[in-house]
Symmetry: C2
Subunit: 342 residues, 2 copies
């Protein structure tokens, strides 16, 4: 019998379609490999091709004084979605609203190595990427025009990635809080108002007690399959200690997180394919949030986390049109499969 499950944070329903369920290893064949990517020779993100990108915003570099001796580097996107400079204007047309398309759109090249992935690079390299995430958020939050700094990564065509395969993340600073993040913030705030507890802390406590969807627990982080996953193998990484702000992460925490991320991606590569498609999204606190007439930051009612969503199955018209996702793999089985290969 299929089952509707409700995400306790956003109150979105998903359907676990157990009867059509496939065994986890059936997902392997679903990965497409017939996609054309920009070759290493023409890759603007490879060392030696620095002049193919817009001017560097930052880089972490080896001590040698060589233009191409970087470990991680960032620059504005070549065709930015939004403009960083210009007048900021809210306009109204009767019942309609618009805002000038101001924002930042940056690329973080994660490694000089064209052919590596989060699962095959060293955890030391993953650590550098996480520091870059932190540093870009801190810098962009200084610009008070922006309400949200979004850090994400699309890998593979099914995840909506571009034709550049060289590992990179994207940073987008927006004058609005994006819809899906806002739903989560509002759900968490609602829970906090009623219970005076963080909903994510409540989820962690319940998951640890039930032990049905916990994949791994360390000193600082927990890796779990959510109760109502939209996709097979959807996985969340949350700090065990309540924290709304990713940028307050400590050196010790980032070390554990980078080792955990590398290990998790290596595990999914074993289960799915070396080059499986996925979206990685950091859900962090907004810069400013309107509350009772003035602007303030969120403290106790949000809990930052990463969501990792393998994109190995296509979205149907039903899912797109309704927002109700159909998942053929119950998260309890996904948890077992990941634990086995972890």
């Amino acid at each position: 019998m299929p089952e509707f499950r409700k995400d306790p944070i956003t109150n979105s329903w998903i359907i676990i379609a157990t009867e059509r369920s496939r065994r986890p290893y059936d997902y392997r064949e679903k990965v497409e490999n017939n996609v054309k990517y920009v070759s290493k020779e023409n890759c603007p993100f490879c060392p030696g091709h620095e002049n193919m990108t817009p001017n560097e915003i930052f880089s972490y570099r080896a001590p040698e004084n060589n233009m191409s001796s970087w470990w991680v580097r960032g620059f504005p996107a070549h065709s930015p979605l939004l403009h960083i400079e210009g007048e900021f204007e809210h306009k109204g047309f009767g019942i309609y609203d618009s805002i000038t398309g101001l924002g930042a759109h940056e690329i973080i090249v994660e490694t000089p190595d064209h052919d590596t992935t989060l699962g095959t690079m060293s955890s030391n390299q993953v650590e550098k990427i996480l520091w870059a995430y932190r540093d870009r958020i801190i810098d962009l939050k200084n610009d008070k025009r922006f309400r949200y700094v979004l850090i994400f990564k699309n890998h593979g065509k099914k995840a909506g990635a571009s034709s550049i395969h060289h590992p990179h993340s994207q940073v987008i600073a927006l004058p609005i809080v994006p819809k899906k993040i806002k739903e989560e913030l509002e759900g968490a705030r609602f829970h906090y108002k009623i219970k005076e507890r963080c909903i994510f802390c409540d989820i962690i406590k319940q998951e640890l007690k039930l032990d049905e969807r916990v994949i791994w627990k360390g000193k600082h982080f927990i890796l779990l399959s959510p109760w109502a996953p939209r996709f097979p193998f959807e996985t969340w990484i949350l700090p065990l200690k309540h924290s709304h702000d990713f940028t307050t992460i400590s050196k010790e925490e980032i070390l554990e997180l980078s080792q955990l991320m590398k290990r998790f991606f290596r595990t999914l590569q074993k289960i799915l394919a070396n080059d499986f498609s996925f979206n990685l999204l950091l859900h962090d606190t907004p810069n400013l949030i309107p509350q009772e007439g003035y602007w303030t930051t969120i403290r106790s009612d949000f809990h930052w986390h990463f969501e990792i969503i393998p994109r190995i199955v296509n979205i149907t018209g039903f899912e797109w049109g309704t927002g109700v996702y159909i998942n053929h793999l119950p998260p309890e089985i996904a948890t077992q499969e990941i634990k086995k290969a972890f």
Copy 2:
């Protein structure tokens, strides 16, 4: 300069990325044609193959007493997403909720003709499809376990359609109101609470006054590009007279609607391609809606309509992860292009 625009009903933001804008005819090449479909010989929806489908629920038929002399027919889906029979149960596990996956999942075969489309069939045939939509909603609303009857159509692979190309629609009755419909209902109710006016009626009034996004206006219906379209050529059809319930449509109204639909799809075929991908979704009132503790139907605060969304561009990871859509074609230009070819 790009522009953020807010949908006045759901308060979702989209980005009109004018600088990356393509000319409307540039969208033609984006239609994929290399998709494999079930052949006419093996098509379970073709006349003469009635025994390949589950038992008929209804049919509109020619007077001849011949199994295959139908114009439109409906039956349960071969692999239904949800089960129609069984015990209905709400369960709670601490902070988590689930409901048994009960529901109806039906197919409406729109025509005996395997190779036609909404743009090439007669408006008389489109009329029959619309009556079928009405009749299935009326029937399924009698089942008080269901809260929403969804009527939709996915055409083409990019729209998430199956491998059966024979024109068909889907009917899904759900024990929940789907997220995206709920957002619209809640937005419309909020507007009504404050203004004591229907937000869709307000939109129609403002659009008629501005005349920037109105494609066509008849005696009973209006065809318009919304202020904040998620995709190029997204178009809405609304009844001019306030009505929350599609099933109250009159014979005269359904006649105009079927002619309008046929003409609109024929126009999009001219602009895009004969076999362009799209989603068609009827946004209708829910069966029952919880309000202040008891169950009642909506009357003045919702306005039924069709949304037609050509799926000629892919969704990026950013759009999927944030819910903020990027549209390169301003609706004002889409309106002009459709009017030219109408």
